[in-house]
């Protein structure tokens, strides 16, 4: 079953607890956005917000895929892991970008090909193409469990 999003007026964004991120090379298509933070509003979990700072602020809806996308087991290329300083899986925080389409159907998809990988210890982050990208879809429909 496809899921449907709903667009109410925005709640006043309070100052939420944020995780500061450094993007040495920006993200794909936005190379000038080098800093950002992840925050969430309690009633929106498991969805979180990624705010990027650059020529203009950018916001993305992101999720930690653990437990949300069954059987998602991305593998990192060695050079990505090295650039991030990640030596073991526990160092890595995964954030997958969600696209919410504001059209008639208002569907949501999640990008499983190019997650943002964060080194939890340093805050260094990078959008990577996972080494096993051929298994995954950049527009994976978010579906209900039932």
């Amino acid at each position: 079953m496809k899921v449907v999003a709903d667009f109410p007026q925005p709640p006043a964004p309070a100052a939420p607890p944020a995780l500061d991120l450094k993007f040495p090379v920006g993200i794909v298509g936005f190379p000038e956005h080098r800093r950002g933070e992840v925050f969430h509003l309690a009633d929106q979990l498991p969805f979180q917000w990624l705010r990027l700072h650059g020529p203009e602020p950018l916001h993305f809806v992101v999720i930690d895929p653990a437990g949300i996308v069954p059987d998602y087991a991305p593998e990192l290329f060695d050079d990505d892991a090295a650039a991030l300083g990640i030596t073991e899986a526990a160092d890595a925080l995964l954030l997958n970008i969600v696209t919410v389409r504001d059209d008639r159907d208002r569907t949501a998809t999640v990008n499983l090909v190019g997650p943002i990988v964060v080194n939890r210890r340093t805050g260094v982050a990078r959008q990577v193409v996972v080494a096993n990208y051929s298994l995954y879809n950049a527009r994976h429909p978010l579906v209900t469990a039932s």
């Binding site: 667009f7 203009e56 950018l58 809806v61 949300i68 060695d78 919410v100 190019g114 978010l142």
Partner: protein, 87 residues
Amino acid sequence: MLVLTRKVNEAILIGDNIEIRITRIDGDVVKIGIQAPREISILRKEVLTELAASNQAAAVPHSGPGGTPARLPSLPRLVAPPRPARP
């Protein structure tokens, strides 16, 4: 751009440790074998193109100088609760 002509089973070397070999040609489809160190990422270019398009589509418009999103989707209804971890 350097353009070389190769036949099936001929190869190209890039630097000390990357070899690209034409393994099969079938009409307009070419099979290419690549040997490279593990730390070199090798991608079909359209994967990155798709990623850039996906990022563009996912960016949420912001309303003004404060940089707050124009609208926050009502997200909790999008997905079912997390499934229990698999054994």
